[in-house]
């Protein structure tokens, strides 16, 4: 894993984890957690640790950064179909994240 790949993946993981922690509903939290599990599974559980420092509280911003970081993973030879599936899961989680 190259440094830029690791940074993108760490960013995606950290922001998805933050979304899971701040989710309004239980179902959304579970769904975000599964996005995280799926990301880890795609990378064979060989992933960098979370870095939760300095993240914003705004969930819209968190979501946008997570989405962009996941899309960025395609540039590092990660299977594009898998990335699309993860993005679909992320969007499904967001739809559940309504009070």
């Amino acid at each position: 894993m190259l440094l830029s790949h690791a940074i993108a993946l760490a960013k995606a993981r950290s922001h998805v984890a933050a979304l899971a922690d701040t989710a309004v509903t239980f179902e959304a939290s579970v769904q975000y957690e599964r996005v995280l599990l799926q990301l880890d599974w795609i990378h064979g559980d060989d992933v960098p640790g979370l870095d939760g420092s300095g993240l914003t509280d705004d969930r819209n911003v968190l979501f946008s950064i997570a989405e962009a970081a996941i899309e960025e993973l395609v540039d590092f030879d990660v299977d594009a179909l898998q990335i699309e599936l993860v993005l679909a899961m992320l969007i499904a989680a967001r739809e559940l994240d309504e009070p």
Binding site: H5, A6, A20, E33, D40, D45, V47, P48, L50
Partner: protein, 438 residues
């Protein structure tokens, strides 16, 4: 069959036998002029030999019991003065077993019901002995039992031996009957040992221990409803016997978190206390899932367990929300949840202690050891040795692990023992020996 079940069957059979007199008549021999003789002397001799084989099985069981709960020191260079009550009983049982010429019972003799009630009672006692022998290697030993439990097992063995001695004297008129070796010494040793073991309080919870069949997966199609959930949860528990890798553990934790939450919501009206308990379980698993995000560990195999977790959640979605949870199903789920929690907690502790699970450090950095133009990112993993880094271990130990339950003895444990004691004590005086008054 536990120790209590086998011991109970043996005591019941012996208590029945101790209440039976006029042994020849009970074997079809001549007695009262109104009861015709139905067996020949040879047939009664054959029945006597069969009874002796059954008795041998019970005797061997008593020897195994007395040895299991007493340090297995060699007794060949000891004397009656240097042996304690338990050792004396062991020594006398050893001699009785070695001196027995009856031989072992065959499987047919143990499993085929007998025509005469008396022989049938012996068969039941021998059958319980044969099954009961398996209880001792399955955790019924001096090292694993408390002192009180050891004394209870010792007292049981002593009382059963007392019963055998009484019956041996009563059966001496059976044609060709082979009496126990040193019967009087054996009886005395059993009596002294029973009194010695009863000095302190008994602990009948030992009846719950012993051999149990191992859990098996429940195969087959989805029975539907909550039964399907119980089926998969049971399979998950069994598949967790294989140590899962970190990703597999995370999937299992996810499945338990969702299951507890959904079930807690569904049963909130019918079982409010259970609903709160399952909500608390869901909260614990949520915290565990959060702590697991940085968990790494490639060793292990969690494929079956995580597949069961997925099946569980898909079956949960199919259960109609209007379907009520039956009380026995709730009981089964509680029992399974407790066992899964205990197992997950054990897996986490083992994984940390054996360094199979690691924590990822926060920031990746370039590897200095790499050669060539492209430098790969160096991954750093640290063992989970301190609670400063994670709350993982505390959660597993303090919140997830179910509180140890206080075992209660089975309902008939004391009564079964009392019946045998009464049957041994309340035997009629021999003829010609007037009862003592005062």
């Amino acid at each position: 069959m536990t120790y209590g079940a086998n011991g109970g069957q043996m005591r019941d059979a012996l208590a029945t036998l101790l209440r039976q007199h006029r042994i020849q008549q009970r074997l079809g021999g001549a007695g009262s002029h109104t009861i015709p003789e139905t067996t020949t002397v040879e047939e009664r001799a054959a029945l006597g030999a069969l009874i002796a084989r059954y008795r041998h099985a019970v005797l061997v069981y008593c020897r195994i019991s007395a040895t299991a709960v007493n340090p297995n020191t060699p007794l060949d260079r000891t004397s009656v003065r240097t042996r304690g009550p338990a050792e004396e009983l062991r020594y006398r049982l050893d001699r009785a077993v070695e001196g027995s010429t009856a031989g072992l019972t065959t499987m047919d003799e143990l499993t085929t019901p007998q025509n005469f009630d008396l022989v049938e009672s012996w068969r039941r006692a021998a059958q319980a002995s044969a099954l009961g022998e398996h209880d001792f290697p399955a955790g019924l030993s001096w090292g694993t039992l408390t002192d009180q439990q050891c004394r209870t097992v010792l007292k049981d063995a002593a009382e059963i031996t007392q019963g055998l001695v009484v019956l041996d004297q009563r059966y001496k008129n059976i044609p060709g009957w082979a009496a126990l070796r040193d019967c009087a010494s054996l009886g005395r040793a059993a009596q002294v040992c029973a009194v010695f073991a009863a000095y302190d309080a008994q602990d009948h919870t030992v009846d719950l221990r012993g051999w149990r069949p191992s859990l098996e997966t429940i195969d087959g199609p989805d029975p539907g409803g909550f039964a399907g959930l119980i089926q998969t949860e049971q399979n998950l528990l069994i598949h967790l016997t294989r140590f899962p890798h970190a990703h597999g553990l995370r999937l299992v934790i996810d499945s338990q978190r969702v299951l507890s939450h959904q079930l807690g919501v569904r049963v909130s009206k019918d079982f409010p206390a259970l609903s709160n308990r399952w909500a608390a379980r869901a909260a614990t698993y949520t915290r565990l899932a959060q702590q697991c995000r940085n968990l790494a560990g490639l060793l292990g195999d969690g494929r079956n367990a995580s597949a069961d977790g997925s099946i569980l959640l898909s079956r949960l979605r199919k259960v109609p929300s209007s379907q009520p949870l039956a009380p026995d199903q709730a009981k089964s789920l509680v029992r399974l949840f407790n066992r899964i929690d205990a197992r997950v907690s054990e897996i986490i502790e083992d994984g940390i202690a054996e360094r199979l699970y690691y924590l990822r450090v926060k920031v990746p950095r370039l590897s200095n050891e790499a050669t060539g133009m492209v430098r790969r990112v160096g991954q750093r993993y640290v063992p989970i040795t301190s609670q400063d880094r994670t709350d993982f271990l505390r959660l597993a130990r303090d919140e997830l692990r179910p509180a140890p339950s206080q075992p209660t003895p089975p309902p008939g444990a004391a009564q079964s023992r009392r019946k045998l004691q009464q049957a041994i004590r309340n035997r009629p005086q021999p003829r010609g020996d007037p009862p003592r008054l005062g």
